[in-house]
């Protein structure tokens, strides 16, 4: 399966910006289930300096600076990504969740040590008693990890209303739990925090999702969006990717761009500006299946 992804971000400022620093997590990952065949970034105005680096979590980051007055910033990321179907070995995730929690608490091999980093609270996925209580019914003693994780995703999907107006990127997870509303980020953070409250490593995956056109309608350009889901550690270096927003395992239509502890580690485009006053931001994403 080959996808073409176009992700366009536009900032417009009320006042001129004299200097801006940005970091972009926009390059799709290379990993066993996907390969980034091509990736290019178009930035307007032209950056004064730009550098491709790798962050602590191994994601590609483009860091750029624009020195000189500008009143808008347009970043267009275009990528071609090949997705490979993965077959899940039936034994994966069959260990009781307590065992996964135990290896994360006292890791013995490098893969478990990597996972341990995601077993503790992080700024946007804090572990609190309220969240612990919410997640607890999905984690009865001895339940296989995969069942526990899928059950938590299933409950979130069933109990929460999808509502882009209810939350912002800074809404705390406990508040999301109270509102029972939110978007993919909120659901991902809630699920991550629920797993971590039980000692199970879980990380945040940001990326894109191919969406189907409305029945009988034409696919609308720009109707897609960036997406977020969860990777839960199943032991032996294997991570199960689960999409709580859609209540299913992530598959070939989930194109991953970056992974971290939570949104804060991998926000697609962050920046610090000098001047600018108020600003508005627009994002348009197109994920298209390419005919090979």
């Amino acid at each position: 399966m080959l996808y073409s992804v176009r992700h366009r971000t536009t900032y417009r400022y009320d006042e001129p910006v004299s200097l801006s620093h940005h970091a972009a997590h926009l390059r799709p990952l290379d990993r066993h289930q996907q390969s980034c065949r091509s990736h290019q970034l178009v930035i307007e105005p032209l950056p004064t300096s730009i550098e491709q680096t790798t962050d602590y979590f191994g994601n590609g980051v483009m860091v750029f600076t624009i020195a000189g007055l500008h009143q808008s910033l347009i970043v267009i990321s275009t990528s071609e990504v090949e997705m490979r179907p993965m077959t899940l070995d039936p034994s994966v995730g069959q260990a009781p969740w307590e065992r996964i929690a135990a290896v994360a608490a006292t890791p013995r091999d490098p893969a478990d040590l990597v996972a341990a980093e995601f077993a503790v609270a992080s700024p946007a996925a804090d572990v609190t008693p309220v969240i612990q209580r919410y997640a607890a019914p999905s984690f009865p003693a001895g339940r296989p990890l995969i069942e526990a994780a899928l059950d938590l995703a299933h409950r979130i999907h069933g109990e929460f209303k999808f509502d882009p107006t209810a939350t912002t990127i800074s809404t705390p997870t406990e508040e999301v739990l109270r509102l029972k509303r939110g978007v993919c980020q909120d659901f991902a953070h809630l699920m991550i925090a629920g797993c971590r409250a039980h000692g199970v490593p879980a990380r945040y995956v940001s990326g894109y999702l191919e969406t189907d056109p409305p029945a009988g309608g034409k696919r609308l350009v720009g109707a897609d969006a960036s997406h977020a889901w969860v990777a839960v550690y199943a032991g032996d270096g294997i991570w199960l990717e689960i999409d709580p927003t859609n209540d299913r395992l992530a598959g070939t239509s989930h194109v991953a761009v970056a992974q971290g502890r939570d949104y804060g580690d991998v926000s697609p485009l962050r920046g610090v500006i000098l001047g600018g006053g108020d600003h508005v931001v627009e994002v348009a994403v197109d994920v298209e299946r390419m005919l090979i």
Partner: protein
């Protein structure tokens, strides 16, 4: 002979007292102190204490208390009695602290590098991964000098058996070394006999080592970013005047000879750090960081910080700047790490940890919570990590409800907490209400990296005493006191003071074009507020003199216009007889604004100048206030070098004076008819030009003559024209990078206003309108036009020199919904 001083000094049973042995006899190290004439009697100690207090007040030694409206600039609490530690005992502490610093340095190198201590199980991974002080964007950064921890502080307490133990490590941005230095300055002067009676080890060598360490690191960074041989520039980065220990930042910057800067003074271009100055961007190679590390870079660290410098992490990664301590050093600060340090010392150093430490347990270990309720007895709950918004909690001080709350908090996130055995602190005499009483003692010691991988421990430190007997919490934030620490040995120590000696060759500088634009801005406003305060006081005084009901004085009609002028300044003068208390209350606002402005540029003012301004809020009399302001003006004229800072202060003052003179001339100059003489008289008085007028014109008050003197007379230092000429001269002397040799817009605007004023014919301006009630329309129009021109000059100035708004983090776009 020291009986009267020690009369009634009672050490609680079972407590180790620093001064008195178990038999009540004075310990040998204290003998010389107590024999000194300073300690002859309670009365001599009291007088020494008053001297010390006055020095602290006059030097403006302060610390700020958060969340307390009166907390800004509290006088620093210093106890007149030093804590004395025998040198032989201190040598052991020194060796132990140097080892501990070396260990933490190596641990940081491992945690921010290969993380072998996690892989081999020496350190539980959650201690690092759940630690908010572990800054992931800083992983893999190599400091240019290879040192991960340049400056560390340790809190030490003494056990009943006399041994010292470490209670806490401070590695992020340790505070207090500057206060320790100031304490020493004050005490060595207020207890001269006692200080000279014995060989007290000097602390200046520690600061010299610190400066050399930073200089080495900055030179290495300069060599990488600008080529070898570049003279390194080092700055002290402060969060600003509202920080708890701002005094110390300014004090240390001055003592060490570094420029004091805020985040907004710095910028990063091409992964290099620059100081924004009036003369353009100047490279920065070393940063002595007093800003908390997670606030240092809004791009990579805490994104809502407006105190940091975007891109600083990237500059550090390139090795283009040396930061002391490096970003991320707080990862080894919390109490959670303490129980693992002995094993880490064996692993990383191959050594046994020398200095005992308080028995501490990290609650993130499996099973640690099983007996939590019972374990809380006789223990202190401490945050496991630095940067957590929490202070130590003493469970036995809590009621049942609070205790349950604490337990729930711990259980929710056990990794964030540690339990430490509650140690009974030793006692030390403190001077309270005229007598010596025992108080708990906590000693903060400082260690700096020295050359060749060595370390230097400050011989002394900052002792803190609990505010009450038996009270265990020791914190300056909650009202404890501080003490100087004297290490007393048998050999005299070398005396070096950084105030005088500069070991390196000095490049002489006459002109500092590297004044940060933020400082220029603040000095400009200091000038404006000083002038505004002075004019407000003059107006109030004029109104008060004329409003006294028992005087049948001719000034009566001027009261209402004076009140109008004051209203324009935001000062509401009540009707009726003047109420001194209400007047002083009304003045507190401009005086506070002035004091605040002075606080922001405190490090740029001489000690005398600061003292004058610092005393303003306490004055309760208009004449005293005016005298103090005159003293300030005199100091600015006589003591401030004619650099760019002085020019901006002067421009601010001149601009404000021109502005305010136009405002009250317009109101007071309006009257035509019977009230005219009274108002012109008030106008001359407020403009401080009565004497000049009478000396020049041997006649009554003529409107044209008065207006000419106050507005257009270029020789009258109070006239608007004089201010414009002065502003023009200052503008001509500013660096004008932008315009080459051509005239700047602000200079052009000033010249245009001057020309307009010269063209104005004062005889015509002074003519009244067709009717008495019309006043003087031409004067009105002239004042309005000139006022708006002045506002334009001010805008052009800030556009050209002060535009340095703090960088703002961008809100990021929320991920949108996607439902398949």
């Amino acid at each position: 002979m020291s009986q009267s001083f020690l009369a009634g000094y009672q050490v609680p049973a079972g407590t180790y007292d620093e001064m008195c042995g178990p038999d009540g006899a004075v310990r040998p190290a204290w003998a010389a102190l107590l024999k000194a004439p300073d300690f002859a009697s309670a009365a001599t100690v009291e007088s020494r204490w008053q001297l010390a207090e006055r020095m602290i007040r006059e030097n403006g030694v302060t610390y700020n208390v958060y969340g307390d409206p009166k907390g800004l600039a509290r006088p620093w609490p210093l106890d007149p009695l030093p804590a004395i530690v025998p040198a032989s005992e201190w040598r052991q502490i020194e060796t132990g602290l140097a080892q501990r610093t070396r260990l933490l340095d190596r641990l940081l190198a491992d945690l921010y590098g290969p993380q072998t201590v996690l892989k081999d199980g020496t350190l539980p991974p959650a201690l690092l991964f759940a630690n908010p002080g572990f800054l992931r964007p800083c992983h893999g950064i190599q400091p240019p000098d290879g040192v991960q921890l340049h400056l560390a502080a340790f809190d030490l307490g003494r056990m009943p058996d006399g041994g010292w133990v470490v209670l806490d490590d401070r590695t992020q941005a340790p505070s207090g070394a500057g206060y320790a230095l100031e304490n020493r300055m004050v005490l060595s002067r207020s207890l001269p006999d006692a200080f000279r009676a014995q060989p007290v080890e000097r602390v200046s060598g520690f600061f010299r080592a610190l400066r050399e360490t930073l200089s080495r690191a900055a030179s290495a960074a300069a060599a990488r970013s600008r080529g070898s041989g570049a003279e390194p520039r080092i700055v002290l980065l402060t969060p600003g005047p509202y920080n708890e220990t701002y005094f110390e930042h300014a004090y240390l910057a001055r003592y060490l000879g570094y420029q004091l800067v805020a985040g907004e003074d710095l910028t990063v271009r091409y992964d290099r750090v620059y100081l924004k100055t009036l003369g353009g961007l100047q490279p920065v190679d070393g940063i002595l960081r007093r800003l908390d590390e997670d606030f240092c870079d809004p791009l990579w660290l805490k994104s809502n910080s407006s105190l940091g410098v975007a891109g600083l992490v990237a500059a550090a990664r390139r090795g283009h700047v040396a930061i002391l301590n490096p970003l991320g050093s707080g990862a080894v600060e919390g109490a959670g790490l303490i129980p693992y340090l002995p094993a880490l010392a064996r692993k990383l150093l191959g050594e046994t940890l020398l200095l005992p430490q308080a028995e501490t347990r990290w609650l993130g270990t499996p099973g640690a919570l099983d007996t939590l309720d019972a374990d809380l007895a006789d223990r202190v709950v401490k945050p496991a990590f630095s940067g957590m918004d929490a202070s130590p909690v003493y469970p036995e001080h809590l009621d049942v409800g609070r205790r349950a709350e604490l337990i729930a908090r711990i259980k929710a996130a056990p990794q964030r907490w540690a339990l430490q055995d509650h140690l009974p602190l030793s006692s030390v005499p403190a001077w309270v209400d005229g007598r010596a009483v025992p108080r708990g003692l906590l000693l903060r010691a400082y260690v700096t990296a020295d050359q060749d991988g060595g370390h230097k421990v400050m011989p002394g430190g900052l002792a803190r005493v609990a505010p009450e007997v038996g009270r265990l919490m020791v914190s300056l934030q909650s009202g404890g006191g501080s003490k100087d620490v004297w290490i007393v040995g048998d050999r005299p120590s070398e005396h070096v003071s950084l105030w005088q000696s500069q070991p390196d060759a000095v490049e002489l500088k006459r002109h500092a074009a590297d004044l940060p634009s933020r400082v220029a801005d603040n000095l400009f406003w200091l000038g404006r507020y000083a002038e505004r305060t002075e004019i407000t006081i003059r107006l109030v005084r004029a109104a008060r003199q004329r409003g006294l009901p028992d005087l049948n004085n001719p000034g009566g009609p001027a009261v209402a216009p004076l009140r109008e002028c004051l209203a324009g300044l935001g000062f509401v003068l009540a009707e009726g007889p003047p109420q001194p208390a209400a007047i002083m209350a009304g003045l507190s606002q401009p005086i506070e604004a002035l004091h605040r402005a002075a606080t922001t540029v405190r490090d740029r003012l001489s000690m005398d100048t600061w003292r004058v301004l610092n005393a303003l809020p306490a004055l309760a009399d208009l004449d005293q206030l005016l005298q103090r302001l005159a003293a300030f003006n005199g100091l600015v004229m006589e003591n401030m070098t004619r650099g760019l800072g002085w020019r901006f202060l002067e421009i601010g003052r001149r601009l404000e004076r021109a502005y305010q003179t136009l405002a009250f001339a317009r109101v007071l100059g309006q009257a035509v008819g019977p009230t005219e003489p009274a108002l012109l008289d008030a106008l001359l008085e407020v403009a401080d030009s009565s004497m000049t007028y009478r000396a020049r014109y041997f006649m009554g008050l003529k409107p044209a003559a008065v207006l000419d003197l106050v507005l257009a007379d270029e020789a009258n230092p109070r006239a608007v024209a004089f201010q414009l000429l002065a502003i023009g001269q200052h503008l001509a002397a500013l660096p004008r990078e932008r315009h080459g040799t051509s005239t700047t817009p602000e200079a052009q605007a000033t010249a245009a206003v001057m020309a307009a004023l010269r063209r104005a014919d004062m005889v015509k301006i002074a003519r009244g309108g067709p009717e008495e009630k019309d006043g003087r329309p031409k004067l009105d129009r002239l004042c309005i036009a000139l006022t708006s021109d002045l506002a334009e000059i001010s805008d052009l100035l800030s556009e050209a020199y002060f535009k340095h708004a703090a960088a703002e983090p961008l809100a990021t776009a929320a991920s949108h919904p996607a439902r398949a």
